[in-house]
């Protein structure tokens, strides 16, 4: 590395020195914060990714020290390498803000507005992007592109309607597995992610396409509709796995593990890819060594209603004040149908259905007696 020349690049008036050959996006990530352009298709762990979604467009106001002319068009920062003395404008440029708004509109042209149903909601890159850069209204008068649902195996759910054609999952399968079984069929408006003639994706590492997917096109079938992301609590954990590093993030609701994913860094990229056994089959807390709760950004919806460092009322103090033992007047679990202790949603493989929630006869009978007059 010592013989590669260092280039000075200024992004939004912040200067950083990076080795030659670094892309503008990676240089901006070294600075961090708002200066970093968003990326929907670029994934630093995957070779050749990037250059497709155009959300990372930036303005180069000075090409380099030797050739100070600005670049005439906005460039994709994930594919453009830095030059010495280059000056880049990201959020300080009106053109970039406007172009990004246009790109978000293009990405949303065929993206259905089904966030209330989608399992990715709450940790979706496109949701964040359109919240920050998009417009509230759609200007499209034509029907959105739709596809027939396709079954790609017992663990992964494909929603082609939500796909934004970032190719991340294709690169993941190409670079992580021996044989890629899915890819992009057709061209242009009709292009779709598919296995060629209804094959199931069954490679041991294919589950990682769920993590790399920036939208809800590829989701975990074992987690499907079980919980909303913001009702589960992330915990870092590891296990001694013979095939992968075993370093994962567990998503808890109470004592139950609802989902296992890779650990994502602040750019939304997994730190280490994990195997299918860890992801889909180890859904008990006893399978894992828990390291502690994941640090979640305070502004993220995932941190909603998760109280850290909450101080419980002192039992002794209550007794002193009221002069007697506090009496529990209603144990919610004797009435509530939700989170019933005998139903373990996390142990059902695939989404739960109406027959998984058979009424609790005892509870119902008691309730009818009491509430009958209502």
């Amino acid at each position: 590395m010592s013989d590669t020349p260092k280039f000075k690049v200024t992004i939004d008036n912040i200067t950083v020195e990076v080795p030659a050959g670094t892309t503008i996006l990676n240089a901006a990530r070294l600075i961090g914060g708002d200066v970093t352009p968003p990326a929907m298709c670029y994934y630093s762990k995957l070779e050749n990714s990037g250059g497709k979604c155009r959300t990372c467009l930036v303005e180069v106001s000075k090409g380099s020290e030797k050739d100070p002319r600005p670049m005439p068009k906005l460039v994709a920062s994930c594919r453009t390498t830095v030059m010495d003395g280059m000056e880049v404008k990201n959020i300080t440029s009106e053109r970039v803000i406007d172009a990004r708004k246009g790109v978000v509109e293009f990405l949303l042209i065929n993206h259905p507005l089904d966030c209330p149903v989608c399992d990715q909601a709450g940790e979706c890159d496109l949701q964040d992007l359109s919240y920050e850069h998009g417009s509230e209204q759609s200007r499209l008068d034509f029907p959105k592109r739709t596809f027939e649902p396709e079954d790609i195996g017992p663990n992964i759910q494909l929603h082609m309607n939500r796909c934004i054609m970032c190719y991340r999952c294709v690169f993941t399968a190409e670079q992580l597995t021996q044989r890629r079984e899915h890819g992009v069929l057709e061209r242009g408006w009709d292009s779709q992610i598919s296995t060629y003639l209804n094959k199931a994706l069954d490679n041991e590492f294919i589950g990682n396409i769920i993590d790399v997917c920036p939208v809800g096109a590829l989701t975990d079938k074992t987690f499907r509709f079980k919980q909303r992301v913001w009702f589960t609590k992330p915990m870092d954990a590891h296990r001694d796995c013979p095939t992968c590093s075993g370093k994962v993030r567990l998503w808890f609701r109470g004592e139950e593990v609802f989902r296992v994913t890779g650990r994502k860094d602040k750019w939304g990229e997994v730190e280490e890819f994990i195997c299918n056994t860890c992801r889909f089959d180890k859904k008990r807390a006893s399978d894992w060594v828990i390291e502690g709760p994941t640090k979640v950004n305070r502004h993220s919806v995932i941190s909603q209603n998760h109280y850290r460092g909450a101080v419980e009322a002192q039992k002794e103090l209550i007794r002193e004040i009221i002069g007697k033992e506090p009496k529990m007047l209603l144990d919610i679990h004797t009435v509530s149908d939700v989170n019933r202790p005998e139903i373990h949603l996390s142990e059902i493989h695939g989404p739960s259905h109406s027959n998984d929630f058979l009424p609790n006869q005892k509870l119902e009978g008691q309730r009818k007696l009491e509430v009958g007059k209502k």
């Binding site: 209330p116 509709f225 739960s352 209502k374």
Partner: protein, 170 residues
Amino acid sequence: MQHLTNRAILINRNPMTLAERLYVPAIAKGLKVTVSHIFKKKATVSYPEEKRPFAPVFRGLHVLNRDEEGRERCTACGLCAVACPAEAITMEAAERKPEEAHLYREEKYAAKYEINMLRCIFCGFCEEACPKDAIYLSETVMPSNYSRRSMIYKKDDLLIPHPKKQEDNK
């Protein structure tokens, strides 16, 4: 004595004069207030014969809405529960089976939906958060009850009647 604020009112604690000790002027003053109220408009209404109109922003008992075909609108997206400042709403979602398509509007629906009316503060945030027009706060005053158990409202208690079945009954 030093006052913390300048709003303190000093009370006259001098012994009462003879006129004051007679109490007659004070009693007359009090009676004047009482009698004047006889001629004023009554502040109460004789409920339940007479009912006050609701304010247009009144927020009462919750209802879960159905669409024109009687399918449940709620998709258990959880936005009402996360918006709820009292944490009164809980739910569990399930996937719709093909034969249940006439019951639920979307692929995913709320298999269980509960509002703990003991916790609810009727702020209407759930109504505001709902992206599917599924939950509304109606113009019905929340009925009181003798037991705490019956204050846990389940989906059957909240759902509005099926529009088609209701027509059949008529």
